[in-house]
Amino acid sequence: MDAATIYGILATAKGFKEISRRKIKKVPSLRGRTILNVFYENSTRTRVSFELAAKRLSADGVNISASGSAVAKGESLLDMAQTLNAMQADAVIIRHSSSGAPHYLADRISARVINAGDGLHEHPSQALLDIMTIWEKFDELDGLNVAIVGDIAHSRVARSNLIAMKTLGMNVRVAGPATLIPRELAAVYGCEVCDSVSQAVEGADVVMALRLQKERMNSGLLPSLREYSVEYGINAKLLKTTGDNAILMHPGPVNRGVELSADIVDGQRSVILDQVENGVAVRCALLYLILGGSQP
């Protein structure tokens, strides 16, 4: 996706944000279309915002949630694909724990496929809503300083953001435990890998913290949550070293006290709730552009 495409989607999203603040939050653009949410992983934010997006566009949205244990070794994804084709869906929104699952589906079904997060690979709508949130606060994205902190290795949010930010000319610095930062990150995404969180955060315009999953301790990647929060957590003191109008972001849900100290989650710099609101707007835009309006 090039910069022009990204800005185009965000401009459309802006319009939908406005619609979402009206009393009657509905436009008829996708009336009669069938949109299926196929979520193989738990999700509150993403699923609800895609659901709301479909409804606001007057489409018929249905949720299919397949719990992880019922899906053995992924063979039912093929069955799912065949079922979806039979149901004549117009669009399928898929979240799956396997990188490449949307590509797998797209090769096998006639509906449009939208990636709501696949394994460690990508979460494109999240990156778009993140960029939209940043753009609301900063007019010029080219040359903006961004710090992404946390478990990059397991983060599709990070990967999608790294791709988008590189396209838009932002300067990205990354920090986190070395066990959680892929060795080739700088080479692949053109970002800078810092030795410490303080180095990454200093002078940043945007500080984005990633969620740390508790499993990482059990895989021997980290000693403890406490050590993580001490060495890599973002707190008020660190935020003071950022740029003047710096904003604090997090894809949610936040582990309060781990990646972010509790006080700053709701503090002045935090735009976390804006991210959520923009999520619905961006997803409206995506559904509209992919199914209804012109191609991005």
């Binding site: 992924g74 590509h103 080479a187």
Partner: protein, 426 residues
């Protein structure tokens, strides 16, 4: 039954000959070799015009998974044998990770009996190194060797316990056995699905780093030097592994190594798009690794190219990448790798074909007479220039998990002769 192969370029790495010649085959053996176009055809003799073609000893594959007994839905010795012949192989070493495992004399004899009954290529059984491939106790190696096993390996499982590997090596020295090592630190590869590097970072797939292979190559090479055992490394994939093998060879250890054809032709970039037919173990790595493997052949550190033929059904491969089994089928697409070495990497046909003939033969201690009078007539006739498409119709395996299906390759097997009989024609 008499066959006369006329005017071909006879490339015989076993006897180090590369010349134009006529070859007469009679009663299953090479009867006569003379200057090109000099032999007169006899009555009722089958004539093969090999002008512009290469005539090689039949190929020997050191590493194929033919899934029989136990997983015949993916492949069996019959379909695998036909694919082998189409790939120019007259001898194939079959891996023991079947169901049941080939870890005793009876099962070794089963493979040999099937080989005789089918009359396709010759199947040589590899015996498991540990009982049930569990990596704990030594399997009855001597008993299996007497029954006809040609080497010992746990196939696609590494020997994690250094003590067991040491014991296997020491034990083997009394019997002149060759052990094959699948060198991999499986803990370092836990939950990995492809090479750890730029491609895996981009695709969001957990990786298997080179060091997982290199560290065990180092361990096993040192153990081989320490014990004096004959050790052969299966399907190396990393540049560092080639270097360690070279080091061990220089120190005088009886260590040999091979590379799989896929690793000579493909890299981690071929996984792009989450193509499960490019999901291999060991994984496809970087271009630097690929070039180092080619260099290893050039310098003689690596002396064999194997097929690593690993057929899988759509149940195992038509799934998301992380869920897919490792392996690609490959018996019919090995020759193009050798041709590429000649065309693009300045390697002589003798050396390239040596990796398919004399190299594997010497690793197994097989008496291969090559293309000399009185030796068994296993002959492969090749068109080194022909571009051909590997279509589904030409695929003789029961499985379709080849990264080359539908692609065009250069270098084609035209005819395969086993024990003096034409067993494959294109």
């Amino acid at each position: 039954m008499s066959i006369l192969i006329q005017n071909g370029r006879l490339i015989d790495p076993v006897n180090a000959t590369d010349k134009l010649a006529d070859i007469r085959i009679q009663n299953g053996k090479i009867a006569e070799i003379a200057a090109a176009k000099s032999l007169n055809p006899g009555p009722d003799e089958e004539l093969i015009d090999a002008t512009g073609k290469w005539v090689s000893p039949g190929f020997i594959d050191l590493h194929a998974y033919l899934r029989e007994p136990g997983e015949e839905y993916k492949e069996d010795l019959e379909s695998g044998g036909k694919a082998a012949l189409a790939g120019g192989f007259t001898t194939v070493v079959v891996m023991p990770n079947t169901h049941p495992v080939i870890d005793n004399a009876e099962h070794v004899q089963y493979i040999l009996a099937r080989s005789r009954a089918l009359g396709l290529c010759e199947f040589l059984p590899a015996g498991a190194l540990s009982v049930q491939r569990k990596g704990k106790n030594l399997a009855p190696l001597a008993e299996m060797q007497k029954a006809g096993a040609v080497c010992f390996t746990d196939a696609d499982r590494a020997i994690a316990n250094g003590q067991l590997m040491r014991n296997a090596m020491e034990y083997s020295t009394d019997f002149g056995m060759t052990l094959f090592s699948h060198a991999q630190d499986e803990a370092l590869c836990s939950d990995g699905h492809m090479n750890e590097g730029a491609a895996s970072t981009r695709l969001g797939l957990r990786g298997m780093p080179c060091v997982a292979e290199e560290s065990i190559v180092a361990r096993d090479a040192m153990l081989a030097e320490y014990t004096g055992a004959k050790l052969h490394f299966s399907h190396l994939s990393a540049a560092g592994s080639v270097a360690r093998v070279a080091q061990a060879q220089q120190a005088g250890a009886a260590v040999t190594a091979e590379v799989g054809a896929h690793h000579l032709l493909l890299t981690e970039e071929d996984v792009d798009g989450f193509d499960t037919s490019a999901k291999l173990n060991p994984p496809l790595r970087t271009e630097d690794d690929r070039l180092a493997l080619i260099d290893g052949i050039r310098t003689g550190v690596l002396c064999a190219i194997s097929s690593n033929h690993a057929p899988h059904n759509s149940v195992e491969k038509d799934v998301t990448f992380a869920s897919a089994e490792f392996g690609a089928s490959g018996l019919q697409t090995v020759l193009p790798a050798a041709i590429k070495l000649v065309d693009e990497h300045d390697i002589s046909p003798l050396v390239a074909l040596g990796c398919l003939t004399s190299g594997p033969a010497s690793i197994l201690g097989l008496e291969s007479g090559g293309l000399a009078c009185e030796s068994t007539a296993n002959v492969t006739i090749i068109d080194p220039k022909e571009n051909w498409e590997f279509t589904p119709e030409r695929n003789l395996s029961k499985s379709t998990n080849s990264p080359f299906l539908g692609k065009t390759l250069k270098g084609r097997v035209l005819k395969t002769i086993a024990k003096g009989k034409v067993v494959f024609t294109v």
